[in-house]
Assembly symmetry: C2
Homo-oligomer: 447 residues x 2
C-alpha cells in the first residue's frame, strides 16, 4: 500500500507540476515577445546570409535573458544560396503579365538572362514520362501537381507532393527541358508561391526552377488547356561558391543529480529568404528558449542537463544538426533525449516518438497528464531534421512536437510566414508541452 | 461469427463513409466561399437590423444552392439594439485622448450627452463591495478584471470573466455609479474592445457600459494607480422600443426510412454589430449548410430527416431558438438530435454531448472513427444556446462541435472577427465532423 500511495502522490505531483509549467508559460511566457523581436528586427535569415549572423546574435542574447546557466555558439560551416533578382512573365492572353513566382532554394537561375520559351504542362511524373522528347526539348515544363487537400494530416499531403519540388528539374532536364515551373506545395487558397529545397542530380544539366502560387497555377492551367503559353523567366539565383562559417546557439541548464545525462530541445534558426520565418521555425526557437526560461523562473532544478539548441541550416544542408551530433560524438556525451519543434507554433496535439517500444510504453503511462493540454496523439514517428543526426549517430531517442497541421502549408516557405500569423496562446501552449515533456524525461527517464 | 463479420463490415463501411464525407468537403466544400459572401456582402448583422434581413435572404439562397429538398423561413420576433455614435476620451496624462471603446450590447447610452466624470478602478467584485458608497457615487467604475490566460480551455476563462460584462452596471448603479467601463473578455494581446450581451436588473438605474481592449486597459490601469483619471463618455445606444419580425432559415433533406425523426444541425445567423461575424457565428452557419450540400453531393439518402437551421438572435435574446422549439412542440415533431456549431471555425477537437449516459456510451463506441479527423474529446457537456430551448422543452439529446479554443476570445465580438481570420481547412474540417456525426446518428440512432 505504501508503494501505491507513493505512486499516487507522484502522479498528483506530476499533474501539479504540469499545471505550474503551463501557467508560468501562459501567464508570463516571453516566447511570443521573443518571436516578435526575431521576426521584426532580424526578419528572414537564410543560412550563410548576414541576417543569419544577426539571428545568431539575437539567439545568444535571448538565451542569456532566459537565464541559461551557460550559453555558447557551436560552429557549423553552411552553404549560402543567394536569390538576387527574379521575375516571371506569362503570356496567357494577348500580353505578357508578371506573376508572383519564387525560385526554389538551391536552384540555379538563368544567370540574369531572360529565357523566353513556350510552356508545356503536365500534371504528374507519369504524364511527363509519356511525353516524347520532342515535346519537351527547349521548353519550360509546368509540373501542375495539386497538393492533396483530402489528407487531414497535412504533412501527408506535403510528403505526397514534395517530389515535384525537389526532383523535377533533373527529371525535366534529362529530356532536354530548359526550365521548370511548379505549382507550389501549398494548401493556400491564395497566390503565395512557396520556396523550399530542391536538389540536382549532378550528372544532369542544372536548369532553373520556379514556383507559382495556387491562384496563378489555376490560371496557367486554364491557359495551357487552351493553347501554348509563352513565358519569360529571369533569375540571378545561385549557390555561393564557398561555405560560410555560422553557428548553432546553445543554452544549458546544468543537471543536479545526473548532469552527464543531456536532454536537447530545439528548433532551427535559419529560414528561407522570404517572409519572416515565423512558423518555420522562429516558433520552435522561441519555444525552446521558453523551456529554459520557465524552468529557471519556477526555480526547478532538473536532474539531467537540459539544452536548448537553435540549429543553423536546417533548410538546405542540416549542417547545424550534423555539427551538434559530431560534437556530441567527439566528446562522448551521453544524450538521453533529443526533441524538436519544427512544425509551426500551432496548438499542440501530440508528441511524436522515435524510440524503442519499451520507451514508448513508458511515455504512454504519462499520456493522461498531457490530455488537459490538448495532447492526445503519441502515434506519430516524428522527430525533426536537426536532431536526426544525433538520433542516428548516437542512437538517441527522439521526440517531436506535433501541433495542429491545418494552417502550416498555407504559410510555410512563403512571404506570408510572418509574426502576425502566429497566435500567442497557441505558441505558448506548444512551449508548455515541450517543457512538460522535457521535465518528465529529465525526472523520470525513459528506461 | 456471422454477427462479428457483419459488425466488422459495418465498422469498415462507417470508416469509409467518414472518409468520403471528409474528402467531399475538403476537396469540394463550398462553406469557405459561402462565408466569404456572407462576410463581404452582408457583413455584421445584429438582430433586427436591415443587415440581418439581408442575411436571411443570403441564407435562403445558400441553402437552396446546397441542394436542400425544402427551404423555408420560420418567423421570430427579435429585439433590435442600436449602437449609434459613441466615443470615449480618457485623460491619462495632460490631455484627453480618444481610445478604442465599444458599448456593450443591450446597454443604454448617455443619450448622446457627454458624461465627464472621474474613474474609480477595481479589479473584481470583492474590491468593489469593500468600497464605501461615497467613493463610487457619481463616478465611472472601471472593472479591471483580467481574462485568465492560464485556463487552457478558453471557455473556462470566459465563464470566469463574463460576469463583469453582464452584471457590473447594475452592481455599480446600486451604489450610485454613473457608468461602467470594463476590461474586455479578451485573450487578445491587442487593443480590440469586445462587445457582447449585458443585462440590467430592472429595479436598478440603467447606466451605460463600455468595454476597452487589453492595451488601453493596461494603460488605464497604470494611470489609475498614479492618480485620478477623468473620462468623457458619449453614446447613443439604446434598445429599440418594438420587436422586429425576423426569421430562422431552415433547409431540410427528407429522411427515407423514418422521415418523422428529425436531426437538427445549426449555427446562428445574427452577429454583434462589429467586424463581420465570421467566427461568431458565420462559421457555424456555413458549416451547417455544408452538411446538407455534402450529403446531397455524395448522393446519400439519410434514414432520418436532416435539417440545417440558421438561428436568428442568439446574441441577445435567443428568440430564434425559442421559435424553433415552440414550433416543434406545437407540431408534435419528433427530434432525435440537435447539434450546434457556435465556438468558431477552428480545427475540431471534440463533440460535446448533452444526453443520457446510455446515449453517450453509444456515441463513444464510435469514438475511433473520429480520431483520424483530430476529434478525441467527448467529455464536455456542451450543446449550444440556440438548441437549448428544443433540448429542454422537448428533451432532445444535444451535441456541440468543440473546436480548438485558443484563438476564439481574441476575435469574438470584435471588429477583428472577419473572414480573413478563418482558415479554409479548419472551417471545412469542422463541417466534415458535423456531417459525420449527423450521418452517424441518422443511420445508427442514439438508442
Amino acid at each position: 500500500m505504501l508503494t501505491l500511495g507513493m505512486a499516487y502522490t507522484s502522479a498528483a505531483q506530476d499533474s501539479l507540476l504540469f499545471r505550474k509549467i503551463s501557467s508560468e508559460i501562459m501567464l508570463h511566457g516571453t516566447c511570443y515577445d521573443n518571436l516578435r523581436v526575431l521576426c521584426k528586427t532580424v526578419g528572414h535569415r537564410i543560412s550563410g546570409s548576414p541576417a543569419a549572423a544577426n539571428a545568431v546574435l539575437w539567439g545568444e542574447k535571448a538565451m542569456k535573458a532566459a537565464g541559461a546557466d551557460k550559453v555558447w555558439l557551436q560552429a557549423a560551416d553552411v552553404p549560402y544560396w543567394y536569390r538576387g533578382k527574379e521575375s516571371l512573365y506569362l503570356k496567357m492572353g494577348k500580353d505578357y503579365k508578371q506573376v508572383e513566382a519564387l525560385s526554389l532554394g538551391n536552384s540555379e537561375g538563368t544567370g540574369g538572362k531572360t529565357l523566353e520559351l513556350p510552356i508545356i504542362m503536365v500534371h504528374n511524373y507519369d504524364e511527363f514520362k509519356a511525353l516524347p522528347e520532342s515535346d519537351v526539348k527547349g521548353k519550360i515544363v509546368f509540373f501542375n501537381y495539386r497538393f492533396r487537400q483530402d489528407f487531414i494530416f497535412t504533412f501527408e499531403g506535403y510528403g505526397d507532393a514534395v517530389k515535384y519540388r525537389g526532383g523535377s528539374p533533373s527529371v525535366a532536364a534529362a529530356k532536354g527541358a530548359a526550365a521548370v515551373i511548379i505549382r507550389s506545395m501549398s494548401t493556400g487558397e491564395d497566390d503565395f508561391p512557396h520556396t523550399g529545397a530542391m536538389h540536382y542530380i549532378d550528372s544532369i544539366k542544372k536548369i532553373p526552377e520556379m514556383a507559382l502560387g495556387n491562384t496563378t497555377s489555376d490560371m496557367l492551367e486554364q491557359a495551357c488547356m487552351k493553347g501554348t503559353v509563352m513565358a519569360k523567366m529571369t533569375s540571378e539565383c545561385h549557390m555561393m561558391p564557398a561555405l560560410v562559417r555560422s553557428y548553432n546557439v546553445i543554452g544549458e541548464i546544468k543537471g543536479t543529480e545526473t548532469p552527464e545525462r543531456i536532454i536537447t530541445v530545439g528548433g532551427h534558426l535559419d529560414s528561407w529568404d522570404v517572409g519572416e520565418g515565423a512558423m518555420d521555425d522562429g516558433a520552435g526557437c522561441v519555444q525552446s528558449i521558453e523551456v529554459i526560461r520557465a524552468i529557471k523562473a519556477l526555480g526547478l532544478t532538473p536532474k539531467c542537463t537540459i539544452r536548448a539548441v537553435l540549429f543553423m541550416n536546417e533548410e538546405n544542408g542540416q549542417k547545424g544538426g550534423q555539427a551538434y551530433a559530431d560534437s556530441a560524438l567527439a566528446k562522448h556525451e551521453r544524450h538521453v533525449l533529443a526533441m524538436e519543434s519544427d512544425a509551426g507554433g500551432f496548438s499542440p496535439r501530440g508528441i511524436g516518438l522515435v524510440m524503442s517500444q519499451s520507451q514508448k510504453d513508458k511515455v504512454l503511462t504519462y499520456k493522461h497528464l498531457f490530455l488537459p493540454y490538448g495532447v492526445y496523439d503519441f502515434t506519430r514517428e516524428e522527430g525533426g531534421s536537426d536532431i536526426d543526426p544525433i538520433g542516428k549517430k548516437l542512437k538517441v531517442p527522439m521526440a517531436g512536437l506535433v501541433p495542429d497541421t491545418q494552417r502550416y502549408f498555407d504559410l510555410h516557405h512563403t512571404n506570408n510566414d510572418i509574426f502576425e500569423n502566429v497566435n500567442h496562446r497557441e505558441l505558448k501552449l506548444g512551449a508548455a508541452v515541450l517543457a512538460q515533456f522535457i521535465w518528465l524525461v529529465s525526472e523520470q527517464g525513459l528506461d
